[in-house]
C-alpha cells in the first residue's frame, strides 16, 4: 500500500525569495508582500503550482520576491499573459499584481476583458493614486487637482474608481483592503483565492515618496472607525467606534446614506444588510467616498459563475476523441484527387 505523505506545511517565510527587496523604505508594498506570503501559507499554496504575473511599475516587481513561479512582463499587459498561461495550463494558480497606472491606464483595456471573460485568477490592484516608478506623475485614480511634475497646477481629469470599473466590466468578485491592515488583508486575499473566476482586489497602498498619506482621510487612526466600513455577507452594514452608525438605503434617491442608530427615529432594522451576491448593493458600496460616506472594505461582491478557462476546457473535452486523431486525415479532409 502506498503511503501518502501530506505535503509539508509551509510558512510565510517559505514564500520569500533570496532577492533583496528594492522598494523604498516605508512603502506599503512591504506590508502587502507580507500579507500575501501569509495568505499563501494559510491557504496551503504549493509553490510549484503558483505563478505571480505582473506588468510594469513598482507593484510589478512583486513576483521577484515571492518564491513561486513568476513572470514580470510588460506595461499593462499582465492580464493577457496570464490568460495565455491559464489556457496553456489551466491547473496553475495565478495571481496578477498590478498598480493603478498599469491596470487602469495603459492596461485598462486588458483588465476590462480579463474581468468580462472571468479567467480564474486573482487580480490585485495596488492603488496609490500616483505613478511611482516614473517619479510621481498623477495617475488615473489621482484626485482632481493633484499636483505632480506633469500637472504643476493640479490635474484636470476626473479620477476612475477601480471597484466601480471592475463591477462595470462584469467582475464576479470585487473586494477591498488596506496595505497596513494585516488583520484584515489576508482574509480578503484568502476569499479572493477561494473564488473561482477572476477575483478583483483593490488594495489601498501608501506611496511614501510621492503620495504619502493620500488615504489618511480614512486611514488615520482618529477617523478610521468613522470612515471605514468592513462589509460582511448577511450582516448589517454598521460602522463607527461602537458600531453605532449604519448605512440605510434611501429608496427615493436609490442611494446610501449614513445614519446613527437611535437618532432621528433610526433603529437597527433600518440598516441595510449586506448581500455580497447583489451587484446593485456592491455598486452602491463601491461608489461611497469619505467624508459623507465611509470607504467600503472587505468583499463587496461575490457571485461565482463559470470561468473562461473552464469553458474552454469543456469545449476541448467535448471535441477530443478518445483516440488521438490521425493528422494525415486532417490534411486529407475535403476534396482530394489521386494521380497514379
Amino acid at each position: 500500500m502506498n503511503v501518502v505523505t501530506p505535503p509539508e506545511k509551509l510558512t510565510p517565510k517559505d514564500f520569500a525569495t533570496d532577492q533583496e527587496v528594492r522598494w523604498c523604505p516605508g512603502c506599503g508594498d512591504y506590508a502587502i508582500l507580507k500579507g500575501v506570503q501569509k495568505t499563501l501559507a494559510d491557504i496551503g499554496a504549493r509553490p510549484e503550482n503558483t505563478v505571480f504575473v505582473s506588468g510594469i511599475g513598482c507593484a510589478a516587481r512583486f513576483p521577484y520576491y515571492v518564491k513561486t513561479y513568476g513572470f514580470h512582463t510588460i506595461h499593462g499587459r499582465a492580464p493577457a499573459f496570464a490568460t495565455g498561461l491559464k489556457l496553456a495550463n489551466p491547473g496553475l494558480d495565478i495571481w496578477v499584481v498590478s498598480g493603478d497606472g498599469d491596470a487602469l491606464s495603459i492596461g485598462g483595456n486588458h483588465l476590462f476583458h480579463l474581468l468580462r471573460r472571468n479567467v480564474d485568477l486573482q487580480f490585485l490592484l495596488f492603488n496609490n493614486e500616483i505613478y511611482g516608478l516614473t517619479k510621481g506623475q498623477y495617475s488615473p485614480t489621482s484626485r482632481q487637482g493633484t499636483r505632480s511634475p506633469s500637472t504643476p497646477w493640479g490635474s484636470l481629469d476626473n479620477p476612475a474608481s477601480a471597484t466601480v470599473f471592475a463591477l462595470g466590466s462584469g467582475a464576479r468578485f470585487v473586494a477591498r483592503g488596506i496595505d497596513s491592515n494585516q488583520k484584515h488583508l489576508p482574509d480578503v486575499l484568502a476569499r479572493a483565492h477561494a473564488h473561482k473566476g477572476t477575483s478583483f482586489v483593490e488594495i489601498f497602498q501608501n506611496c511614501k515618496v510621492y503620495n504619502d498619506g493620500v488615504f489618511e482621510n480614512f486611514t488615520a487612526r482618529d477617523v478610521a472607525s468613522d470612515r471605514q466600513i468592513y462589509v460582511e455577507h448577511g450582516k448589517p452594514l454598521t460602522f463607527g467606534k461602537d458600531g453605532e452608525k449604519g448605512l440605510r438605503l434611501n429608496t427615493q434617491t436609490l442611494s446610501l446614506e449614513a445614519v446613527v442608530i437611535g437618532e432621528n427615529g433610526v433603529n437597527e432594522s433600518d440598516i441595510l444588510v449586506h448581500d455580497e451576491t447583489n451587484r446593485m448593493i456592491a455598486t452602491l458600496l463601491a461608489h461611497m467616498e469619505p467624508p459623507a460616506l465611509p470607504v467600503a472594505l472587505g468583499v463587496l461582491y461575490s457571485a461565482p459563475g463559470q470561468s473562461y478557462d473552464d469553458e474552454v476546457g469543456d469545449l476541448v473535452r467535448s471535441h477530443t476523441p478518445a483516440e488521438k486523431p490521425d493528422f494525415n486525415k486532417l490534411l486529407r479532409a475535403g476534396r482530394t484527387w489521386t494521380v497514379d
Binding site: T17, Q19, P47, E48, N49, V51, F52, V53, S54, P63, Y64, K67, T68, Y69, G70, F71, H72, T73, I74, R77, P79, A80, F81, A82, T83, G84, L85, K86, L87, A88, N89, G91, L92, N109, H110, F112, H113, V312, L315, V316, H319, T320, P321, P325, F327, N328, K329, L330, L331, R332, A333, G334, R335, T336, W337, T338, V339, D340
Partner: protein
C-alpha cells in the same frame, strides 16, 4: 472526405483547339460571387489534371456600392499541361459580369483575347456608374478582341424560372450560368460543382437546383449556340504531375496545417492567439477548427493581447503562436521584445499587405522584411523565415516551430496576401515522413537556474510552471548570465547581448545551405528572391535560360540568419538582381551583410510581378 481518381488522358475532341496553358480572369461586382466561381473552376481544373495557380484579387470593402469600379472583385487562374508557377501575366479570356469589371480588367487582356460579357448588366445606368459614356460592347472599341456578348442575366432567369425563386434570388445564379459556359469552353466536368452546390445549399434544395440548372444551361448554350468567329472550345492536356493524393490549398490553410503539424511533431499543445486583420484572419479561422488536434485558439481583445497571451502560453509549456499583418505586428513589437529577452519560443506570422498604415489591406506587398529582421527597440535578434508559395507555407511553418522550440526564440514567418489567398494543387505529404521535434522540458532541480544554456545551441532551459523544484522568476529586466537573477552589471549586459546574438547566428549552422533553384552556381547574373516572387522569377529565369542567357535563380527561405554559404554564393556572380514587392529591403540587407553590389527591382503596386517585368530587367542587365 471525397477522393476523385483522375480519368485517363482523353483524346482531344476534334472541334477543340489544344493549348499548352491558358489564363482566365473572372471579374464582376463584389456581390457577384466571383471568388466562389473561381474556386469551383480551380477545382474542376485540378480534377482535369492540369497544373494551376490562382490569384484572387478583391477590394477591402465587403460590399462596395454595386456597379462601381472600386467594387470589382476578380479571380485569375493560370492552368496548363506544363508546370505552372504563377497566376499568369496577360489573360486569354476575360469574363466581365458588368461594365465596371470590363473597364478595370480590359488592360490585362491579351490583344485578340476572348471577352465574355453579360449584356444584361450593360444598361445605361450600369455604364454611367462605371464611367462609360458609350456602350463599349457596341461602339467598336473592342474590335481588337473576340467578343462573346450574351444576355446572361436574361438567360439565367429563363433557366431557373421553374424553380420558384424570387427574381433577386434567380439573378444570383448568373455566376453559375457563366461558369457552365466557361466549363464548356475548356471541356470541364460539371459534376463536382453540382455536388458542391447541393451540399452547400443543403437547407435550400430549390436554390441548389436553380444553380445547377443555371450551370447546365450555360453549358448547353455554349455547346449549341453559334459562337462568334474565332471563338471555339479549347483543350488543355493533363500535366505531367507526380503521383500522389492532391488537394488545392491556399497559403493561409497550408500555414495553419503546417503550424498544427509542427506542434503535432513536437507533441505539445498550440495556443494560437490572434486578433482579426486582413489578410491574416483566415489562419485563425482554419486553426479554430482544429480543436481536436491539441490546438486552442484565442481571439484576443487586440493585437498586443494576442502576442502577450501567446507568450504567456509558451511560458506555460505550450507553443504560443500569434498572427497578424504589418500594422498589427507593429503593435506586438514590445511583447516580441519580451519573448526575445526571456528567451521563450514563439511563432509570429505576418501576412504582409500593402502599406504604410492601413495602406491597401487586400493587396499584396513584401514590405515588412525590415520590420521582421530589424523592427524592434534595442539589440533584439530573432529568426525570420519566408514562404514562397501556398504549399510552401506548410513546410515553412513546421521549420518555424522546430527552430522556435530548439532555440527558445521567437520566429517570424513572412507570408503575404497573395500567397495567403492564392491556391495551387498540393501533393499532400505524409506526416510520418517528417522528423519529430524534440521538446526537453527541464525537470531536474539539480543545479537549475532559468538561464542555463545548452552548450551547443545556446538555448536556455524550458522550465514550466507546475514543475516542483524549478520555481523561478523571469521578466524583461536584464538577468545575470550565471543565475538568471536581475542584473544591471555592465559586463553582464554585454555578455547577455552577445549571447543572444550568438544563439540566433548559430541557427545558420542548423539550416540547409543556400541552393540555386535554376542555373549555374556562378556566372553573370543571379536573380535573388524571397517569398511570393518565387513564381514569376522562376518562370522568367527558366524562359531566358532556354534562350541561352547566363542567369541563375536563388530563392531565400531563411531570411535571418542567412544560410552560411550565401555570401560566397553571391560573390560568384558578376551581378545580383533582387526583385521585391517593396522599395528595396532584402537588397539592402544583402548589401550590408556581404558588401555585394546587389541591385533592386522594385514594385509596390499591390499587384504581383509579371513574368515579363522580370524578364525585361534581366535582359537589360545581360544584353547591354
Amino acid at each position: 472526405m471525397s477522393n476523385t481518381a483522375l480519368a485517363e488522358k482523353s483524346s482531344v475532341p476534334s472541334h477543340r483547339e489544344t493549348v499548352e496553358s491558358a489564363v482566365v480572369r473572372f471579374a464582376g461586382d463584389s456581390g457577384d460571387g466571383m471568388q466562389l466561381t473561381g474556386g469551383q473552376f480551380t477545382l474542376a481544373t485540378a480534377f482535369a489534371g492540369n497544373d494551376l495557380s490562382t490569384f484572387p484579387d478583391f477590394p477591402a470593402e465587403i460590399r462596395a456600392p454595386a456597379g462601381t469600379t472600386f467594387g470589382v472583385s476578380s479571380f485569375q487562374i493560370n492552368f496548363g499541361s506544363r508546370v505552372i508557377k504563377t497566376a499568369g501575366d496577360a489573360f486569354d479570356m476575360l469574363i466581365a459580369m458588368n461594365p465596371a469589371a470590363l473597364k478595370v480588367e480590359l488592360g490585362g487582356l491579351k490583344q485578340g483575347g476572348i471577352i465574355i460579357a453579360d449584356t444584361g448588366s450593360f444598361g445605361e445606368r450600369d455604364l454611367r456608374k462605371a464611367g462609360y459614356t458609350e456602350n463599349p460592347l457596341e461602339d467598336g472599341s473592342l474590335d481588337g478582341y473576340r467578343l462573346v456578348a450574351l444576355d446572361i442575366s436574361k438567360l439565367t432567369m429563363e433557366a431557373v424560372k421553374d424553380t420558384g425563386l424570387s427574381k433577386q434570388e434567380a439573378l444570383r445564379c448568373k455566376n453559375m450560368w457563366t461558369l457552365g459556359f466557361v466549363y464548356w469552353m475548356y471541356g470541364r466536368d460539371r459534376k463536382p460543382t453540382a455536388d458542391w452546390l447541393i451540399a452547400k445549399f443543403g437547407k435550400r434544395p430549390d436554390v441548389a437546383a436553380a444553380n445547377v440548372a443555371a450551370m447546365d444551361a450555360g453549358h448547353t448554350v455554349a455547346e449549341t449556340m453559334e459562337l462568334p468567329d474565332g471563338v471555339h472550345g479549347f483543350h488543355v492536356d493533363a500535366a505531367d504531375i507526380a503521383p500522389g493524393t492532391y488537394r488545392t490549398v491556399t497559403g493561409a490553410d497550408a500555414l495553419a496545417w503546417g503550424l498544427a503539424a509542427g506542434t503535432h511533431l513536437a507533441d505539445i499543445k498550440m495556443v494560437f492567439a490572434s486578433y482579426p486583420i486582413t489578410p491574416a484572419s483566415q489562419i485563425l479561422h482554419s486553426l479554430s477548427k482544429m480543436i481536436d488536434h491539441n490546438v486552442v485558439t484565442f481571439q484576443a481583445e487586440d493585437e498586443i493581447a494576442a502576442a502577450c497571451a501567446a507568450i504567456g502560453a509558451s511560458f506555460g509549456g505550450s507553443l504560443g503562436v500569434t498572427s497578424s499583418s504589418g500594422p498589427g505586428i507593429a503593435l506586438k513589437t514590445e511583447a516580441i521584445g519580451l519573448a526575445i529577452s526571456t528567451e521563450l519560443p514563439l511563432v509570429i506570422v505576418n501576412s504582409q499587405r500593402a502599406g504604410p498604415s492601413t495602406g491597401m489591406p487586400t493587396k499584396t506587398e513584401q514590405s515588412d522584411l525590415y520590420q521582421a529582421v530589424l523592427g524592434r527597440n534595442a539589440d533584439s535578434p530573432l529568426c525570420v523565415l519566408a514562404a514562397r508559395s501556398p504549399a510552401d507555407c506548410f513546410e515553412v511553418a513546421i521549420e518555424a516551430v522546430r527552430i522556435a522550440i530548439k532555440y527558445m526564440t521567437p520566429v517570424f514567418i513572412l507570408t503575404d496576401g497573395y500567397i495567403g489567398n492564392a491556391a495551387e494543387p498540393w501533393n499532400i505529404p505524409d506526416i510520418n515522413d517528417y522528423a519529430k521535434i524534440p521538446v526537453n522540458f527541464r525537470t531536474d532541480p539539480e543545479g537549475f537556474h532559468p538561464f542555463m544554456r545548452d552548450a551547443d545551441t545556446l538555448a536556455r532551459v524550458w522550465a514550466v510552471p507546475g514543475t516542483p523544484g524549478l520555481e523561478h522568476r523571469i521578466g524583461g529586466i536584464e538577468r545575470d548570465y550565471d543565475s538568471g537573477n536581475i542584473s544591471y552589471d555592465p559586463g553582464n549586459h554585454q555578455k547577455m547581448t552577445d549571447t543572444r546574438f550568438a544563439k540566433i547566428d548559430g541557427i545558420a549552422r542548423d539550416i540547409p545551405a543556400q541552393g540555386v533553384e535554376d542555373g549555374a552556381t556562378s556566372g553573370k547574373l543571379a536573380v535573388v528572391g524571397w517569398g511570393s516572387t518565387y513564381g514569376p522569377i522562376s518562370r522568367a529565369v527558366a524562359n531566358l535560360r532556354t534562350q541561352g542567357l547566363d542567369v541563375s535563380h536563388i530563392h531565400i527561405r531563411h531570411i535571418w540568419p542567412f544560410p552560411e554559404n550565401l555570401g560566397d554564393l553571391l560573390k560568384g556572380f558578376d551581378q545580383v538582381l533582387v526583385p521585391e514587392m517593396n522599395h528595396g529591403q532584402l537588397v539592402n540587407v544583402l548589401r550590408a551583410e556581404y558588401l555585394v553590389p546587389a541591385e533592386g527591382l522594385n514594385k509596390v503596386s499591390g499587384q504581383p510581378f509579371k513574368i515579363i517585368e522580370i524578364e525585361d530587367a534581366i535582359r537589360a542587365r545581360l544584353e547591354n
